[in-house]
């Protein structure tokens, strides 16, 4: 057997002709940077889910308000603070979408607890049900009763549905929430856009021209970043008043330095690379070199940075509303809705829940997408 093998191999002991060609096989298939980046982005589950979620939210922000018959501004005080109720989901108790308010009451006896329950819901006996959790023995707070008030029935509105409930002025919160989302997103996108234009222009010019111009421009940035954003933001809003545009402007003015720094750094790096030098020797004007060669190369960095600017703008818009510098009513934004919600958090938590969930989801989704983009486009992290 071993001998057989030896015989069979004998003919192989000759020099292989023209061996160099086999080297070609070693190379891996060439993929471009962009293809690679997009492939790794597509494989990032969290980023992809975030993208889908964001698209859904943006579509809802555009059209969600028109999905029921209510508008966002009509007030009807007799409908004030009604809890959420959704067709089909009203029988699933734990969702809390059944159009009832309920409260757990503790007292020394069941009777006393029930009495307080009645008082809590305006003695509307007909529409209150009690669920006795603990009979009690006469000592303080030993009896425990859950009082549930069917708000829609008490107002004779069994066939009405406010999906997210209503606010203190009887306005439909579904409509207001989506319109608020629209405004918040609009402010964030606008701020990010202004940010981008200023930052790219400033950073591009500073990095491209270099020398003394760069020096002066960098000192200016240093001083600006020394001033806390919060201070600038608040002063700006106090001076300009708070409207969609002024908030966006204030946000952009505090935010562009980051973008400018990134762009400048990248431009400096790219500036001396061959293709730029080549077109320069061919006499292309500076402006054209910036827009044709440099900007496309820093595009991925700009996109990634913007992905982080947007959620931070959304946060600061809400923050401003919260400290009393937000949009004026009746305009709603996620921030003003959350601010309103807090005012009756202990008794009507539904007013806070929906905008709070929405703003959290938006922030998480943008951050995850931004992380995903950064991982995909940053060659250092790529294997």
């Amino acid at each position: 057997m071993a001998d057989d093998n030896k015989k069979n191999l004998d003919h192989l002991f000759v020099l292989t002709e023209d061996n160099q060609q086999s080297n070609e096989k070693i190379n891996r298939p060439v993929t471009t940077f962009l293809q690679d980046a997009f492939r790794s982005l597509r494989r990032n589950v969290a980023a992809m889910i975030s993208l889908v979620v964001l698209i859904i939210i943006i579509v809802m922000a555009a059209f969600g308000g028109q999905m029921n018959e209510y508008d966002s501004t009509t007030q009807n005080l007799s409908w004030a603070k009604m809890p959420p109720k959704v067709q089909g989901l009203e029988n699933i108790g734990w969702l809390g979408l059944d159009g009832t308010d309920s409260e757990t009451i503790e007292a020394s006896t069941v009777e006393a607890a029930k009495e307080r329950g009645l008082a809590r819901f305006k003695n509307d006996e007909e529409h209150i049900t009690f669920d006795v959790k603990s009979e009690g023995d006469g000592t303080e707070d030993s009896a425990k009763v859950v009082a549930t008030h069917d708000v829609y029935a008490s107002k004779d509105m069994e066939d009405t549905y406010f999906w997210f409930g209503t606010d203190g002025l009887g306005r439909d919160l579904w409509t207001r929430t989506w319109e608020g989302t629209r405004i918040s997103l609009f402010i964030a996108f606008l701020a990010a856009a202004i940010d981008l234009v200023i930052g790219v222009a400033y950073g591009g010019i500073s990095g491209y021209y270099g020398g003394r111009a760069d020096n002066v421009m960098q000192r200016i940035i240093e001083i600006i970043t020394g001033i806390p954003n919060l201070v600038v933001l608040i002063l700006m809003i106090i001076i300009m008043g708070s409207g969609i545009v002024s908030i966006s402007l204030a946000l952009a003015i505090t935010g562009w330095t980051g973008m400018a720094r990134i762009v400048r750094g990248e431009v400096l790096k790219l500036k001396n690379q061959e293709f730029v030098l080549a077109s320069r020797t061919l006499g292309a004007p500076n402006g054209r070199i910036i827009s044709r060669h440099l900007i496309p190369n820093v595009a991925s960095l700009i996109i990634i940075n913007t992905m982080f600017t947007i959620p931070s703008a959304i946060f600061f818009e809400a923050f401003l509303s919260f400290i009393g510098l937000g949009l004026q009513p009746p305009t709603a934004s996620l921030g003003t809705l959350i601010d309103d919600g807090f005012k009756s958090l202990t008794t009507y938590p539904h007013m806070l829940i929906f905008p709070a969930i929405l703003i959290s989801v938006i922030m998480i989704a943008f951050n995850l997408l931004g992380d995903g983009l950064r991982d995909a486009f940053d060659p250092k992290m790529r294997k």
């Binding site: 191999l9 004998d10 003919h11 192989l12 002991f13 000759v14 020099l15 292989t16 061996n19 160099q20 086999s22 080297n23 096989k25 070693i26 891996r28 294997k383």
Partner: protein, 349 residues
Amino acid sequence: MKKILDVKNLNVSFNTYGGEVKAVRGVNFDLHKGETLAIVGESGSGKSVTTKALMGLLPKPHGYVKEGEILFEDKDIAKLSEKELQKIRGKDLSMIFQDPMTSLNPTMKVGTQIMEGLIKHQKMSKTQAKERALELLKLVKIPNAEERIKQYPHQFSGGMRQRVVVAIALACNPKVLIADEPTTALDVTIQAQILDLMKDIQKKTDSSIIFITHDLGVVANVADRVAVMYAGKIVEIGTVDEIFYNPKHPYTWGLLGSMPTLDSDDSELYAIPGTPPDLLNPPKGDAFAPRNQFAMDIDFEEQPPMFKVSDTHYAATWLLDERAPKIDPPESVQKRIDSMASNDGKGDM
């Protein structure tokens, strides 16, 4: 001479996203007391991985010894637990790394870094350890040791840092010292000093050294034996004289041919064409075949066994098979070998 280390059929793999990288594929060698074994080979050939396996320093869990034994004083290092390894590392086996700029802890005083091993392995008190650390610093010829011992690595130059690394490695009089390109990052004069230092210390302590390098000049200077690695295998092993004056493997020819010497002009340099194989899917036959000017058809079909040239000299190439045509090293390489022989192996320093 007493055999101190015996590596048998060592296979090391890494699990990566792309699949299993077979970085070391069946390596055999041994090491005797007091001798210096050099391992040479181009980048990525598995030199560092081999030595990391010897130290039990493979990055767990994705790097692991897949097969084989590493016998050190009758114990198989590949099978020891982390706790047992910790007792051997720094005491019996110690290591010097390539880059002195990064291999010292930047936030710990140099003295503390030397004392650490002493306190752990030799159960010394702090004062004893400090005394010994001072001795060691003097041994590696660091002036002003009393002051220096209190300083941080960034206050040392590159060459001095490497001396500190040597001092750390020598602290507990190890039986085997592994030096992974200890001089690559240093400039030439410092290189020579570090090498002299190592030779000097070896003479005093009679330890064995495994010396990894790209630089064949250094090999000629320090080593007793040489192992040539390619794509995770040892392709030729022998004494320095055998490897330098009677090389058998075409890859060794390539290495010798590409070694610049003082008395040859650079146009004669012989470069090995192509790039090393992808260790994710090593080729079926001889991994060097695609780059081998003297490849035979058999090279693409089967891996060559180790052919014995002499008692100490082995090479894995089908050219040594009795059926193969007789091939001599290319002329430029042969000339190089002859000139080295006439210079008695010293002209290359």
